[in-house]
Each structure stands twice: as C-alpha cells, then as structure tokens.
C-alpha cells in the first residue's frame, strides 16, 4: 500500500480490518455504516474472503461468530438500532471468548432517531449494553487515518484477548472524506489467531487460560473437537454450575483485560504543559475541540486537551492524574452527558468536571467549545 488518497472513514475502517487479516464480514444495511458493508462486498472476495448480507442484525453478528470459531478473523458493522439488537450475542462472544470486531457508527437516537445525523450517545451502551458482568474494549477514532489504525488495533485485540471489541465511530468520522497516507503492508503488525498450546493427548483444555489469562480454544475443524457454549463453563468448555468455577470465570474474564488496561489505553495530549483547564474529548468532537483549544491558547487561555482513543476500559489513571494537574475539566460530547460521568468518577473531586453536552444532531462548532472554555476559566473557585 503506502499511498496518498482521499478516503472515507468507513472505507478506511474496512481497509484496516482487511489489512489486519479480516476475511469474513457479515452484516445488515444500516445508515451510516453501510459503506463498510459495501466496501467489504467489493474487496473481500479479492483477497479470498467472504462477504454476506444477512437477514437481520442479530444474524449479522451470529454469522461472524460462527466464522470466527471456524478460523476466520471476522467483523460486522452497524449503527444504534442494530447495536441494540446485537447485544445478546456480544455477551455471548464475551463469555465464549470468541474474537470479533463490532463497528458501531453512531447516529442520533434513540430508536430510529435521525439516521443521517451524528451523535456519540452509545458510550454507556458499548460498556453495558449486554446483560451480566463482562469487560469491554471500545476504541474511537478521530481521523480517517485513525479509522484504519483503530481497525487494525481492534482486530489485534480481539485476537489477542479472545474477546469482542467495539469500534465506536461516529457519523462525522465515518462519513468524512479526508486525505490519508496509509501505511505499507509491511508496517502493519498483525496478531495471529491463537493456537492450542498442547495436543489432546497432552491434556489440552479449550478454555484453560495461558499466562496472560487468555485461553486458546482451537478453531473448529482442526482436530480438537471442542465445545463452545454461552452457558458458564469450566476449563473444558462444558457447562458448570459450580459457584467456584462461576466466580473464577467471571473474575478471569475481567482480569484478562484489566491487567493490560494501561497498555491498551491510547490517548493524545495537546497543549498540556501549563494547562489549568483540560478538555477531554473523543471521536469527531475531539477534532472540533482541538480547533477550539488551539484558538483559546492563542488568546492566552491556559487550556490543554486530552484526546481519548480508548473509551473502554475507562482511562482511570489518565483522568486521575489529570485531575491532580488541572483545576477544571470540560467534557464536550454529542449526547446528553455520558462519558462525563466516568470522568467525574475518576477525578474523585480533585478537579471540577463540567459537562458540555450537545444533542441536537449537529456537530459542535469551535466557537461553542471555546466559549465554554472561557466561561469555565472565568468561574471563580470557592
């Protein structure tokens, strides 16, 4: 690869997934994610992969979980209404430890909402949408190039941790076309499908965790005859009703991801050196926030910015440290207020956290964020 071109966020995401080894896409048309499906329909067969449009959203995730169990790196893409429908099987992927990537190109909701308008209102749903206790990895790109990079990361994390990973795009980045310089193929690190560590004769157990707490269930059809279920199961993969097994399983599912929390927490810092106010933003909003912060700095405001890429697990340490460094934190998001609650929790009262919600189906303007910064700066602290 390594070429310069104008590309759409959705297309870059699909291209990144293919570069990371995805060879199976199943999904259902839904605005504003459909371009991912259409790109896959054209390009997967070119690399020997399979595209299928399923009869509905639930079938869309079911089919990719099946393909993943049979050895293919797999991805599906949707938006709000479909993301809601997919929740049961996202939980299935979590407990059965099936690598899969689910792209949610967020649009205005709830329900049918405004299909062609942007929002970032599925933040909490990405974490808690499926029932029961489960960890979640969710990443949010802010540029078209990053849509490519995040797709690669998401696929790699799904494989490395044997977990569903959500890409939280928003319609802004998903439908944006901008200049990208894509990396060359040899520059892209691809995490391979994990394989069993022993043979059946040597006592292989499909769900026996390795040192990183992640098991290596064998691909179907490779001679291991494993059993996969959404019931709570022990290391053999078979259902277990034992309280101690249940407790161990739930704990391990969380710990396999939380033990690498800092490693997988990706973010950028801008203008933070002597900042007294910090803007914490992600996705399309972060672009506008950057423009606002840059302008505010020029007019003398001591304001900086944290641009989050990893939405879940929440960046506890980053925000905890931030709250000790600055006095005020502004959280602009295209919703009624969701991510801000986590920021508030992690800040633990060390800094004043202010929500800047926008929920009229339009993106922020740099002015809106800049004015909020000025209002916050002018606030007299008690």
């Amino acid at each position: 690869m390594s070429e310069v071109k104008l590309m759409q966020g959705n297309e870059a995401c699909a291209e990144g997934a293919i570069a990371a080894g995805v060879r199976f896409f199943g999904g259902y048309p839904i605005t504003p994610s459909t371009e991912i499906a259409e790109y896959m329909a054209v390009n997967l067969p070119k690399v020997g992969g399979t595209f299928i449009q399923m009869e509905d959203e639930i079938a869309g995730i079911g089919v990719i979980l099946g393909a993943s169990l049979a050895g293919k790196k797999a991805l599906t893409a949707t938006s709000g209404p479909g993301f809601s429908l997919k929740q049961e099987l996202i939980g299935y992927a979590a407990i059965a430890e099936i690598p899969a990537v689910i792209v949610n190109v967020q649009r205005m909701g709830p329900s049918t909402g405004q299909p062609t308008s942007p929002a970032q209102a599925d933040i909490m749903q990405a974490r808690w949408g499926t029932h029961g206790d489960h960890p979640m990895i969710a990443l949010s790109p802010w540029t078209v190039r990053e849509a490519f990079d995040v797709a690669v990361k998401a696929v790699n994390y799904a494989e490395r941790f044997r977990t569903p990973v959500i890409i939280l795009m928003d319609e802004v980045v998903g439908h944006l076309r901008e200049r990208v310089d894509l990396p060359a193929a040899h520059e892209i690190q691809v995490y391979p499908r994990r394989v069993p560590d022993k043979t059946k004769a040597e006592g292989y157990k499909a769900y026996e965790p390795m040192d990183d707490l992640v098991p290596n269930p064998a691909n179907f059809g490779t001679g291991f005859r494993i059993h996969c279920t959404g019931l709570v199961h022990d290391e053999t993969g078979f259902p277990s009703g034992s309280p101690s097994v249940t407790e161990k399983t739930i704990k391990r599912l969380h710990e396999k991801i939380m033990r690498v929390q800092e490693e997988i927490t990706h973010y950028d810092e801008f203008f933070m050196d002597d900042a007294e106010i910090a803007v914490v933003a992600f996705g399309g909003t972060a672009r506008t926030a950057y423009a606002a912060v840059e302008t505010a700095r020029k007019s003398g405001q001591k304001v900086g910015m944290i641009r989050m890429m990893t939405i879940w697990p929440f960046a506890d340490k980053v925000i905890r440290d931030l709250a000790k460094k600055v006095r005020k934190i502004l959280v602009p998001e295209m919703n009624y207020g969701q991510y801000v609650y986590e920021v508030e929790r992690a800040a633990a009262g060390q800094a004043r956290v202010v929500s800047l919600p926008k929920y009229n189906a339009e993106v922020f303007t740099p002015d809106e964020i800049q004015q909020a910064i000025e209002r916050l700066a002018a606030e007299v602290e008690k």
Binding site: Y28, P29, T31, F51, Q53, E55, D56, E57, T112
Partner: protein, 271 residues
C-alpha cells in the same frame, strides 16, 4: 362513499419519494380501498416498519404507527388483540417484511390474525441506497452484490401460503385499478391477508440494472405479470419469466383474535 383524497394528511405532502417511484400508486390504492369499503376513519389503523414503503403511514389520516425496522407485525398484532374492532392495515417493504421481519411474518401468517399486509416490493433496499434484498432477483446488481446476486429470492406469496395466510394476492403499480380491489378484498377477509404489490424503484434498483425509467419499469410489469388464469395456461418454461397476479390463494381458518375472545368467554372474563 368518501373521497379517497380526504384520507390523506395533505399538510404532510408532498411525500419524500423520488419522481417515478411506485410507492405513491400503492399508497393511493390502499386509500381507495378504504374509501370503497367506507371504513370508519377513526377505527382504522395503519402500521408500518422502516424503509421507503413505510413512510406511507405518515401521509395517511388515521391512527398511524411508524415502528422499528421489521417490527410492524408484532406491533400490529398487539393493536388488533387489544381492540379487535379496529381495522389494522400494515405497510411494509422487502427487507422490512422478508428479512429482518421474516420471523414475525411467518408467525403472523400462522396465527391467521386479522391484519391486512401490503408489501411494497421494489426488489431492493431503497432507503439505505440500493442494497440487495431477499426479493432481489438473481443476476442483478446491488451495492452489496457488486458482482451480481446469486442467491435466490423468496416468493413472498409462497411463503405466506405455507405459513398459513388465508388471503394472498399479487398486484402491481402498473395494474393500479385492480390493485384497489385486491386490497379491499384483503381487508374484508377475516384473517391474515397478504397483498404483494410490485412497485418500481428507478433510482436505486432500475438505474443500477439498466431497466430504464419508471415508465419502462412499469411497462415491464405489464408484460411479465399476468392474471393467474393466463399464467396457469403457460408451460413450465414460460412460467419462469412471468408472475401471476390477482387472488392467488384463499383459505378458511379460525382467526386468532376471534379465537382468543372464546378463551376469554370460557374463562368467564366476558361478564
């Protein structure tokens, strides 16, 4: 008899459909059928799903319900069971009825619940920009079938028959006048009535498949959709390129809401 024009929310018009779309003709046929039967406007409910077809409910002056994608039938079932005196008409599309709504479709047929379902079949997912649907014929181009479709489409009337619908008909936007009666008869049937209505989508389906403009597409309907009696006289080979229109199947079977009323009576709840 009421003038069918009075059955529209004229302040919500003009509609959003493209010039040349067949949806307007199908929607008007429903209004004319309602007018012909002189249904009580306050006792008639129109339920739709999501898609170009399903925007129709917003333009019609009744109690109207624009549900989530694929879910018109469960909602409609609830309305009918809660108040069996209501006339419940469902407007749906390819994907809404036969893809995501497929499971609801076969069960509504199985229950033989007194709904009248008009499927606006334009052989494509129009609203989302032209993806293939379960009713897209083989060897057609769609945005999710860039190399051509190869999986066979449903024949929705066959599915409805196997699943238990007691009135099944097919009409087209070209044959607009008989369509009114097909729908009216469906409404009169006390059971699950299904009218597949072929409509042209020149923008997302026709253009990509070089089928010409709306007029050309309707002309194609006039040539390939023929009355059932004529269809039955064709050889098996000839039948492959045609579809039968008119009333295709009727049956008699207890209707779900009426049967449940008996249960209520049996349980003593009707006093």
């Amino acid at each position: 008899m009421k003038d069918y024009e009075s059955l529209f929310r004229t302040n919500r018009l003009p509609h959003i459909w493209c010039p040349g779309c067949g949806n307007g003709i199908a929607m008007k046929a429903i209004a004319k059928a309602i007018a012909k039967l002189d249904l009580d406007q306050d006792k008639t409910v129109i339920v739709s799903g999501i898609g170009c077809s399903s925007r129709a409910s917003g333009y019609m002056d009744f109690d109207t319900l624009h549900t989530a994608h694929g879910r018109a039938l469960p909602f409609a079932t609830g309305i009918k069971l809660a108040n069996p005196d209501l006339n419940v008409i469902v407007i749906t599309g390819d994907g809404d009825c036969m893809a995501i709504g497929g499971n609801h479709f076969i069960h509504a047929c199985r229950r033989n619940i007194d709904l009248t379902v008009v499927l606006f079949n334009n052989n494509i997912y129009g609203m989302t920009g032209g993806q293939a649907s379960p009713l897209t014929p083989v060897d057609k181009k769609a945005t999710t079938a860039p190399y051509g479709t190869f999986d066979r489409p449903f024949n929705p009337c066959d599915v409805a028959k196997t699943a238990g619908a007691t009135y099944i008909a097919r009409g087209t936007a070209y044959h607009a006048a008989p369509l009114v009666d097909l729908i009216a008869q469906g409404i009169q049937n006390k059971g699950f009535s299904f009218i597949e209505t072929l409509v042209q989508c020149p923008t997302s389906y026709g253009r990509r498949n070089k089928m010409g403009n709306a007029t050309a597409m309707m002309k194609h309907m006039s040539e390939t959709v023929i009355p059932l009696t004529a269809y039955n006289r064709l050889s098996a080979e000839e039948q492959k390129t045609k579809q039968p229109s008119g009333v295709l199947h009727t049956d008699v079977f207890p209707e779900y809401a009426a049967e449940y009323a008996k249960i209520i009576k049996q349980a003593g709840g009707d006093k």
